[in-house]
């Protein structure tokens, strides 16, 4: 049955993958990316992560949660993020 008084564990919505909501997927061009973190700052899902690619600090999306809103793409100062239509599967 339900727990006492409906108490929830911290951060547990992470169990739910909002990535399934997505129609468009942001794809980062690591070559273009200057690691400014603007995309990370502005992502309402907080699902952008720092990566090291070839010794360079870049950012990429965690597709488990990305809803494909397109904000990161819009706000990337160097146009490093493209929104691509999700494939059915």
């Amino acid at each position: 049955m339900v727990n006492f008084a409906g108490i929830a564990e911290p951060g547990s919505t992470k169990n739910y993958k909002t990535g399934t909501w997505r129609t468009y997927r942001p794809v980062v061009d690591f070559d273009k990316c200057i690691g400014c973190a603007k995309c990370w700052e502005y992502c309402p899902e907080g699902c952008i992560i720092e990566l090291e690619v070839d010794g360079k600090e870049v950012y990429e999306t965690d597709l488990d949660y990305c809803k494909g809103c397109g904000i990161c793409s819009e706000e990337c100062p160097v146009g490093a993020i493209e929104m691509e239509l999700e494939e059915e599967d």
Binding site: T20, W21, R22, T23, K67, E86, E88, D89
Partner: protein, 179 residues
């Protein structure tokens, strides 16, 4: 009484589709009922809507558990949502997809009808609003509701050009699935 379930995403007009379906059925002289899955879902999240049509007065107020027909507005849902749940084995499922039905992984004995509603919508409406195409297909595939009634109601709801275009979408989709 037949029960219909529509799967879509918040913002795709699944509830409107159910309503139009009920309105058209009523137009055809049937009794009808339409209602959304009562939820708190936000835009983009998977949603459902339902309709019932019958030749006698509909009093039933429970949710739909064993639909005869299922409409899937967005094939990207197939991986995440159990669209086949409860569908009658002699029922029909209408899926918006560019693929062939054999390529779809749906576990049901019900007949599956596919249609590239997105393309149709983009072609005629210029927008990926697929619900009217799917309603046209529903009419064609099931014969439960006439496409004339559908067209009449869509024009009533969206007066002017928008209604006309949607009626055209319906007409076309209806033909495609053999209505």
């Amino acid at each position: 009484m037949e029960e219909i379930r529509i799967h879509g995403r918040g913002g795709q007009g699944s509830v409107t589709a159910a309503e139009l379906l009920a309105e058209a059925a009523f137009e055809d002289g049937l009794e009808a009922q339409a209602f959304p899955a009562f939820g708190v879902e936000r835009r983009g999240a998977p949603v459902r809507a339902f309709a019932r049509i019958s030749d006698t007065k509909i009093r039933l107020r429970s949710q739909v558990y064993e639909p005869t027909y299922v409409i899937v507005q967005d094939a990207t849902l197939l991986g995440t949502v159990d669209v086949e749940e409860g569908i009658k084995s002699d029922g029909k499922m209408i899926v918006n997809t560019s693929r062939d039905q054999s390529q779809l992984d749906i576990d049901t004995e019900a007949e599956i009808i596919t249609l590239d509603a997105t393309k149709l919508a983009l072609d005629i409406l210029g927008k990926p609003i697929m619900n009217t195409a799917l309603l046209g297909a529903f009419s064609g595939a099931t014969g439960e509701v006439s496409v004339e009634a559908m067209k009449k109601r869509v024009k009533k709801r969206f007066p002017g050009e928008l209604g006309e275009k949607n009626a055209k979408v319906m007409e076309k989709a209806n033909k495609i699935v053999g209505g």
